[in-house]
Every structure is written in structure tokens, then in C-alpha cells.
Amino acid sequence: MSATRKILAEHSAKQQLKPGEFIEATVDLVLSNDVTAPIAIKEFERLGRERVFDADKVVIVLDHFTPNRDIASAEQCAMVRRFARQYGVRHFYDCGEVGIEHVLLPEEGLIKPASVVIGGDSHTCTYGALGAFATGVGSTDVAAAMATGKVWMRVPEAILVKVTGRFRRWASGKDLILYLIGKIGVDGAAYRSLEFAGDGIDSLSVDGRLTVANMVIEAGAKNGIFPVDSRAVRYLADVGVEASEWPIEADEYGYSGEVDIELGDVEPQVALPSLPSNAVAVGEAPDVRLDQVVIGSCTNGRMEDLRVAARVLKGKKAAPGVRLIIIPGSPRVYRGAIKEGLFDIFLDAGAIISPPTCGPCLGGHMGVLAAGEKAISTTNRNFAGRMGHSESEVYLSNPAVAAASAVIGMITDPGEII
């Protein structure tokens, strides 16, 4: 079976699943955050259950508006804390343990291949990078799953993304996913799975795969999934998860489509406002004077991302008037960046280093844009108003392009300054 349907069949006690069929699947992990948990908790309480289905399988991360930006967000976190205490939620991340959820959970060893993960956050699809079926749902689904350990679902068709070759210099997972979304559009994979295969996967680090899987939702996909290869097995062993290799194979229903991508064709990309599908090669991006550069988020807030940003920024300074905001995605990434000396490079470049938070990605706090301001960002959405005022603009890129753009103050190909 397709990797996705195989996992779903195992979780709904069926031998075979047909695309379009409705199932109730058991879940291995239910995630929510300080934005989606409050509604989930209200709905959960309406059910009148005395306990969650499994306190070990419920994860809550206070990462969106934390450290709290105002009284209303503080009240929401207070409510979630009370719930986590009352129901004994085992994996509750608060205070100095907070990381951006999709950076944090893989590092914490909470993601296992062939498991079913649902989360009250659209970027829950990130975990497909490690061979899990992972998808974003709303708060009511989270409430129901916290109570019953189950989720209703329509079995998806699947699209095969065959990746071959090797990346060019300065191109990475972010460029592959922006290129793919540019090819198929923001609803090009609507309601379907994107299953990644091909020898090009070998050249994708696990951090890079997490970036790719993170943004499959921007093509409308239900989930994205990667094979579990030796690289993934090693990553999982490092975080304490035992796993064996697992390929992506077609089932009798096959794939409803195939997209072939040769990595050598993928130049560093920039997605112009205000859809992630407006992807162009960095050299074709317009001359835009930037007010802000954000490097971080659940898309690009991992060690590899900060290392490449540091490589570009070393010995250089952000252009005058450019607010360069760098957000290590988790306590582990934060500490790693300090140990490797990246903080010195960033501070010397005039960067502002934020604690791990979703913050500016969704115009929450820690870097909200005024009317008319423009930012390049390693985040995942460039919708109008996403990072602040509805007349501000967001351009999406990988960390190397964002760092080079901070130095020049305009959208810049890193190859031009290194």
C-alpha cells in the first residue's frame, strides 16, 4: 500500500483501504498549543470525561504567544496550565522547556515512524519527514481525540514526488518545497498525500526533510511522508527511538499523480507575496528594500538552518535599518548555537536573538510589520497581513538567502556575497 494508506490501515484494523473511504483511526499522539488548546479544552470539558484517553499520548506546547505578549494570551496559557495539571498531561512544555512544537517534538523522541500523529496546528504534517502519518486538525478534533484516542478521516489519494540528483550550492529543503508548490500550486495536493521517493532523498538531511514535510500543507496536502532510510534511522537512534528502514511503495491503487524533480534544476527560491506558490529563482526576485529579516520558525529554526545563516553572516553586518531577527527553534538548538559560537556571529552581525517562539511568523509578537513594511523570512506563509499589517509584505526563502538579504538590505543570492 502507499505508505500513508498502510499506516492508516494498521490504525483502523483493516487489511486494505480504498481512497475516499471514511475511517476512524486510532492516534498515537495528540498535539495542541496555546492558540488551539483553549478551544479544545472547552470542547473536551463539554464531553464530561474524567480523564484523557492516555496522558502519555497528549502533548501541549505553549509556543505561539509566549513569553506572553499581553493579558489575553497570558490568560489562555493559564487556562491550559490548569488543564495540563488537572489531567496529568505528561508531555507539557512550558517555561524554559518550550520550543517551537515542530522543532521540539522530533528532538524529544516523540515522533515514531508509522505512527499516527494529529495536531491542532496545520504544520503538524512536519513529522512525515520521519515516516509518520501526521496531519493538522482543528481544536474540536483535538478535543475528541484527547477523549477517545480516535480521529475520523477520509482515506486520501496519493501523489508521488520523485526526487533525483543533488542540490546546487545554497539550495536546500526549503527550495525543494517552494519549487514543488510553485509547480503544483497552493491546492495542487488538496486532500491528498505527498509521498517522497527517489535517490535525491539521500542528499536531504533530516532537518531538510522536516522543512519539506512542514510545508506540504501549503500545497493543500493532508500529509507528506518520507521513506525511513539509514539517515532517518540514525537520527531516530540519537533521540532514543528504535526504528528500522521503511521504503515508500505503491499499492494496488497506485498514485493519482507523479511529479518528478531533478534537484540540479532547483535554484534557491523566493516566494513573492502573497502565496507560497509564487516561487521564483532568487535571481528573478524583484529589487525590494527590506525592513526586516526573520530566520527561524517550525520550517527553518533547526541547527542546520542556523549554521548556514552563520556561514553567510560571518564577519558581516546586517544593512543599516534592517531588523535581523534570529529565532533558535528549541532549547536544544539554542544551546547548540551558543556552543558552536553562532551567537557571536549573529550578535556581531547586529542580529536580535529571540527565545524559541512562533512569534513573528503569524504576526503574533517579536517582530510585527507596520503598513508598507517588507520582510524576507524563512517561515512558511506569505499571505497578506501574515506578519502584521495587511499592507505589509512577506517574501519566503531559505536561511542562506535570508541572511544574504539582511547583509545587503535587498533580496540577495548568497553566491553574490560569499
Partner: protein, 166 residues
């Protein structure tokens, strides 16, 4: 939302393709879960005057991929809270679609119906009968029913009430 509920009648507000959840309810308002409070900011990301134009019973008609983006259930809650009776779109993004079903916001997916509607038209939507009448243009359409599994959730008034019924 109930497929067996009473027909709805209201005036149309037309929106385009890819209306995302940041447009429906900007993230800065996600510190509330009160539908009426959320509804007072409906579509502010798209048009700051939208909340003042929307009247209880009105119907939103949109193009492709309505509700794309985040998983925020605040989006269908804001639409409900503003008193919108129903959303008709050429297609819906999947998380928005399941959220609407789960919270009981009536939605209808039909490119043919969307094609035949203009701003300020008056519509009569009967989900039980599966019909949409454009009273202004004098045309009517029949729409296919929801799959059985989904209909049971919808008829219960949403996922939590469906589970409560056991």
C-alpha cells in the same frame, strides 16, 4: 449545522479564490475563543470594513480553496459568530472543511452554484432537500448530499454532540 434543518435565506457576499484563515481571522485575535468577539473581526485581514457590512443570515460565496492555511477553528467560529448562515465555495481547504463540519457551520461545495451567483443576490439554501435557489436570478440547483459518515456528525450538531450521543 443540520442537513435536516430549516432552509436558510440571505444576501450574498462574494469573495475570491484562496481566502486564507489569516484573512478570515488575523492571528492577533486568536487570544479569544468567543464566537461573537471573533465574529466582530471577520475577514478583517481581507477588508477592514467587512464586519460592518455583514448582517445575520447573510451567505458567503467564495472561489477555490476557501479556508486555506492554518488549522485555527477560530475561522469557522468567527463566521458563525458574525451570524453568517452558510458558506458556499467552489472548493474548501481540508482542515477548514473538517472544522466546519465539527463545529456545525453549514458549508456547501459547488463550483456550478458559485458560478451562477453575483454580489447582493438573494439565496435560499435548503440542505435537507439539497437545493440552492438564486431568488434574484431565478435559477435553482440541486447539490449532492454529504457522505453518510459526515452526515451523522452534521445531524448531531457537530463532532462533540455526536460523541455525546454515543
Amino acid at each position: 449545522m443540520s442537513t435536516s434543518g430549516a432552509p436558510m435565506e440571505g444576501n450574498v457576499h462574494i469573495l475570491g479564490d484562496h481566502v486564507n484563515t489569516d484573512a478570515i481571522i488575523p492571528a492577533t485575535y486568536l487570544v479569544s475563543s468567543d464566537p461573537v468577539e471573533l465574529g466582530s473581526h471577520l475577514m478583517e485581514g481581507l477588508d477592514p470594513d467587512f464586519p460592518s457590512r455583514i448582517k445575520p443570515g447573510d451567505i458567503i460565496v467564495a472561489g477555490e480553496n476557501f479556508g486555506s492555511g492554518s488549522s485555527r477553528e477560530h475561522a469557522p467560529l468567527a463566521i458563525k459568530g458574525a451570524g453568517v448562515a452558510c458558506v458556499i465555495a467552489s472548493s474548501f481547504a481540508r482542515i477548514f472543511f473538517r472544522n466546519a463540519v465539527n463545529v456545525g457551520l453549514p458549508i456547501l461545495e459547488s463550483p456550478e452554484v458559485v458560478e451562477a451567483i453575483e454580489e447582493d443576490d438573494r439565496l435560499r439554501v435548503d440542505l435537507a432537500a439539497g437545493t440552492v435557489e438564486n431568488l434574484t436570478a431565478g435559477v435553482s440547483f440541486s447539490v449532492p448530499p454529504y457522505p453518510g459518515f459526515m452526515r451523522r456528525i452534521i445531524d448531531a450538531g457537530g463532532l462533540i454532540d455526536y460523541l455525546k450521543k454515543g
